[in-house]
């Protein structure tokens, strides 16, 4: 029986709740992990945890995704890992919708982080994987991108753009080895949603979403909802005529 080489996985935005839960799944498989994020002390703490949980190697990279050159950094990180099999793009900022309506600059930050920057990294990742001829790109989107609604449309707009981008990358890959998937979680209980009233059947744990992200890296897509029931929910939500939708309060 041939020994499987450990999976080499890059996680961009490794400090997020979903990213950590996903990284733990990879660690349990004995993967080689590269964790990229802004706070090196936190990355170090996460890295120790992943090593104890079985990751054969964990490298950390302090990166500001807004300012760093995506293509250069990705090559460096991939080289450190000896190649890359899966790239998970998991960083984002929810922002404050009210504040973003009052301050265009704040709105632009939300759009820049969640779309402009994420798109650059997604495209750089696509190029790297295409050059390699293999690998998976999994990008974290959101159900908020499926329809604009008053409580989070700026964040939603960024995620909507990102979804179309990733769908396009998937289409680009149709004749070649690599794959691209956008995973759209519904509300998930992590630090990003701190301050919201949680609980109830519409909320998911980061572990549940991570399992879906992990699976998406192997198969399926290009659009995956997490949990799956959101596909039906959003189909219905998209179908509601605006006459009626506009009266709704969420």
């Amino acid at each position: 029986m041939t020994t499987q080489k450990p999976l080499r996985v890059l996680i961009l935005g490794a400090g997020s709740g979903i990213a950590q839960a996903t990284a733990r799944l990879y660690a349990a498989e004995g993967a080689r992990l590269g964790l990229a994020g802004r706070q090196p002390e936190r990355l170090a703490v996460i890295a120790s945890d992943l090593r104890v949980r079985g990751a054969v190697e964990v490298e950390t990279f302090e990166i500001d995704f807004m300012t760093a050159d995506a293509a250069t950094m990705l090559s460096e990180m991939a080289a450190k890992l000896g190649g890359v099999d899966h790239i998970i793009l998991a960083y984002g900022v929810l922002g404050d919708q009210g504040g973003a309506e009052r301050s265009i600059a704040e709105a632009q930050t939300i759009l820049d982080v969640n779309f402009r920057s994420a798109a650059a990294w997604a495209l750089a990742a696509a190029n790297l994987l295409e050059l390699q001829g293999h690998g998976s790109l999994v990008v974290l989107g959101s159900v908020a991108g499926d329809r604009g609604r008053r409580s989070n449309y700026i964040y939603g707009a960024a995620k909507a753009g990102l979804a179309v981008l990733v769908e396009g990358i998937s289409h680009r890959f149709r004749d070649s080895g690599p794959r691209a998937v956008i995973v759209k979680p519904g509300p998930t209980d992590t630090a990003m949603t701190a301050g919201m009233t949680k609980g109830g059947p519409l909320w998911a744990t980061p572990e549940a979403v991570a399992a879906i992200v992990r699976r998406a890296a192997d198969q399926g897509g290009p659009v995956v909802y997490a949990p799956a029931r959101w596909r039906l929910i959003m189909t219905i939500i998209r179908a509601i005529p605006s006459r009626i939708f506009n009266k709704m309060n969420f």
Binding site: G17, R42, I46, S48, D49, V52, A194, G195
Partner: protein
């Protein structure tokens, strides 16, 4: 207070009492630098919380602040050659088992649920079915890190002579925020247990079975039928077990039904009494031997998520006492008679003999003798007066009650049962408090 949310829906495991708290849920220890000072300055002070498996008010801080540590759940290191594991305080015993078992280790001491945090296990100095061999978990704690309101993080190991180590073990979180813990695991050859189930007809038979079994088995415990009276008082089923040597090391996958809503109160008794009777009568007076995986042996209730909801919306009290050896037989008999006469309480109780092994904790509950644990559906004043009667028996016998289980322990009984209480007080962090502590010091 930034990042704190007002919550009124947080309940201990017994689902009573309710509380209003400012609650924070950090994901990283570095967040405590901002969260903790806010909590210490709250009028109700601060308590660090875990998975809230404590039945009573030791895990809530009504009118104050609570930092839930369950998000701070990372491992720091695990030495496979020594079995020494270091982790953040929010790590669950269930998570430790997932790593320990494949490496040939097990928890040296485990309570009846694996869904407790390391911090909570230390703060309650938990014990298990192997107390007569291993003592409490406090004996296997090499050290921990404690964040105190003097602003400093103290690394305290078992060689500590200041008293802070002994005060924190079983210290109910009152000495500071436990941030990291180093634990010594125990080597095992298998994830399976060889289990013997022995029916017995009355209380004297329990005591002789316990004496005999403590010598031959690492794990012993008995289930008692609280309805049995007369010469069948204390009839039950004795379970004794050792780790198997068959070399299998499988982590149980878990999963199971959940109780989604508060059930009508009568349901639990129906289940438990019929399950007990089925087993008791099927044994037909003879012991039975079997091999079992560790999970159903140690954690039978964990497979039913939210089983506490079977007690309904009024909740329940769990009562756990220990009485010293010379008064154990009489006190236990009197307690069972009182419970049977009142017609209250769950039909099943747990009975076990504790060993001599002392714990390092100043407020540690176990002592040599016999411990009885059972639930009482909360029926208001009739329940409370029954518990008062039991208190009297326990107090007179020179015993004490377990704060982790308690919801109504009188302060006088607490003081009488814990002779090191005054010594403990000198180590309390003025920034920390809990509803339990305020009740004890009113």
């Amino acid at each position: 207070m930034s990042s704190y949310l007002q919550r009124s829906d947080i309940l201990p495991w017994g689902r009573t009492p309710q509380s209003q708290m400012q609650v924070a849920h950090p994901s990283f220890l570095d967040e405590l630098a901002v969260l903790a000072p806010q909590g210490w300055q709250s009028p109700g002070r601060l308590l660090a919380g875990g998975l809230r498996r404590s039945y009573g008010d030791s895990c809530i801080n009504d009118g104050g602040a609570l930092i839930e540590m369950t998000g701070v759940d990372r491992f720091i290191s695990f030495d496979h050659s020594t079995g020494i594991i270091e982790a953040e305080a929010g790590v669950r015993l269930a998570d430790i088992l997932k790593l320990a078992i494949p490496a040939g280790y097990f928890l040296p001491v485990t309570p009846g649920t694996k869904f407790v945090t390391l911090g909570g296990a230390v703060a309650n100095d938990v014990h298990g079915k192997n107390h007569h061999r291993a003592g409490t978990i406090g004996r296997r704690i090499r050290g921990f890190t404690l964040l105190r309101s003097d602003g400093s993080e103290h690394v305290i190991n078992r060689e500590d002579t200041t008293g802070l180590f002994a005060a924190t073990i079983g210290g109910l979180g009152l000495t500071g925020i436990i941030t990291r813990v180093t634990l010594e695991l125990m080597r095992v050859e298998s994830s399976n247990m060889t289990v013997q189930t022995v029916p017995f007809d009355n209380l004297p038979e329990f005591f002789s079975l316990a004496a005999e079994s403590d010598a031959t088995h690492d794990y012993t415990v008995a289930w008692i039928d609280c309805l049995a009276k007369g010469d069948r008082l204390g009839r039950g089923i004795f379970t004794r077990a050792n780790h198997s040597t068959d070399g299998e090391r499988l982590v149980s996958s878990g999963g199971g039904p959940t109780v989604p809503v508060d059930a009508p109160g009568f349901l639990l008794n129906r289940f438990s009494i019929s399950a007990f009777n089925q087993l008791y009568f099927s044994l037909a007076g003879r012991p039975r031997q079997a091999t079992s995986s560790y999970d159903p042996f140690f954690y039978p209730l964990d497979s039913i998520a939210n089983w506490n909801r079977l007690y309904g919306s009024r909740g329940f009290y769990q009562y756990q006492s220990v009485v010293p050896p010379n008064s154990a037989a009489d006190a236990t008999r009197e307690m069972l008679q009182t419970i049977a006469a009142a017609g209250q309480g769950s039909f099943l109780a747990v009975l076990k003999t504790f060993g001599e092994t002392a714990s390092p904790g100043m407020l540690s509950f176990p002592m040599a003798g016999t411990t009885l644990a059972l639930d009482f559906a909360n029926r208001g004043s009739s329940t409370l007066s029954l518990l008062d009667k039991l208190d009297a028996i326990v107090g007179e016998a020179g015993g004490r009650l377990y704060p982790a289980k308690d919801g109504r322990l009188p302060a006088t009984m607490f003081r009488a049962g814990y002779p090191r209480l005054d010594q403990f007080r000198t180590h309390i962090d003025p920034g920390m408090s809990s509803t339990f502590w305020r009740r004890m010091t009113r």
